[in-house]
Amino acid sequence: MSIQGKIKANLEAYRQHGIKPQRTLPKGSSAAISIEPPVCRFRGPLVGKCKCLKENSMYICGILKIRVREHQRPGHPNDPQCNPDCPKFEVGGTSNEITEAQSSG
């Protein structure tokens, strides 16, 4: 039976008999796929994680703590390289608190 047919049958079963369909558990093997926001990119090969600076509500791309000053850059929520969802991901940091970083090599 096609998925469309299965859905119609399940809907009929619910409306006629009150039987709620059970969700089929997905295979869920894709642990490598996370729902974390994507990292942001500097000029060159380095990438960092977006953060939101509380003091000026600016989005920045943060990288190694020791170099954050020189590498932070203001971003804009509409900047596709800096996720506007950052405030929900890491809120209220300051530039000195940026410790997570990674390099794309």
Binding site: Q4, N10, R23, P26, S30, A32, I35, P37, P38, Q81
Partner: protein, 307 residues
Amino acid sequence: MIKNAIRKLLLADSSVTKKLATYSFTSDGTKAPAIFTIPVIPEDATYPAVILSSIGGADCGTRGQRGVGYGDAQAGFSGDYAKKLSVQNLVCDGITGGYNLSDLTGDDGTYTDCEIMENCSGKIFTGCTDLTGCHAEENFTTCSLMESCTMQSDEYSSSYGLFDCSNVSNMTIVHTISGCSDLYNCNVTAHSTTPYSYIVNCTGMESCSISGNHKGFAGCSDLTDCTADSIITTSSDYTGIGFYDCDDLTGCTSSNNADVGFYQCNTLTTCSATNNTNCGYLGCTGISSDCVDSGNGGSNCDEVPEE
């Protein structure tokens, strides 16, 4: 629980009332309670012979009144025909356990464990069943039997989307679909500035698609006639791939993606990979000879076996 309440009502010798739903309102007076109306019953009504006939609680007055903390909807036995409860201008904070709800509006409303909903809008729907034309500002979670529902498309958030739902038809959103099963004609398009959505860990999908986002299908299985197109690549891992770690694909198409069409997928039949930057198929097993591999770049790619 709702069904049991209705059975008791139908078996009752006389009119009885039973709480079917709880409606919560803001108490700060900034929002008015809902306006409840009961439309004229159609001659050919087929829905359950139960009517939400009165509203308990202190008061559920009209828009502009203040101070209602909550109200209970009571169900009454209504004879041979049913009537539906229609609530206009919903400004409740939330409805739990509602039944036969239609035409509710209000961006801030939440719905939990409601059944048979038509043209209702709110912020979050959780555990609801049989939804038609409903609209969520943020997400649908653990809902089932959803037809032609919608979501807002102006804002992107990773917490917005369709999560752990089942039996979903005809829905197009710019947000992520995760952990869902049995989806037909469900499509993820790209948000205008933040195309970070994808379809992940779903099973049983037919005629579904994703385009223009950073990722495509990931960790999905039992896919028929599904399409991933124009998936772009970014600095994040696993971007630019149409189908990643997916199993049992039939008639699926992956094209114009910035990396690989099908990556580490298993059991592919009548699938097509065209114009992908780095391989049509890579690290896949069970590629059928009727699959198409055309116009793809890359090297050391998997080859489609000859017939």
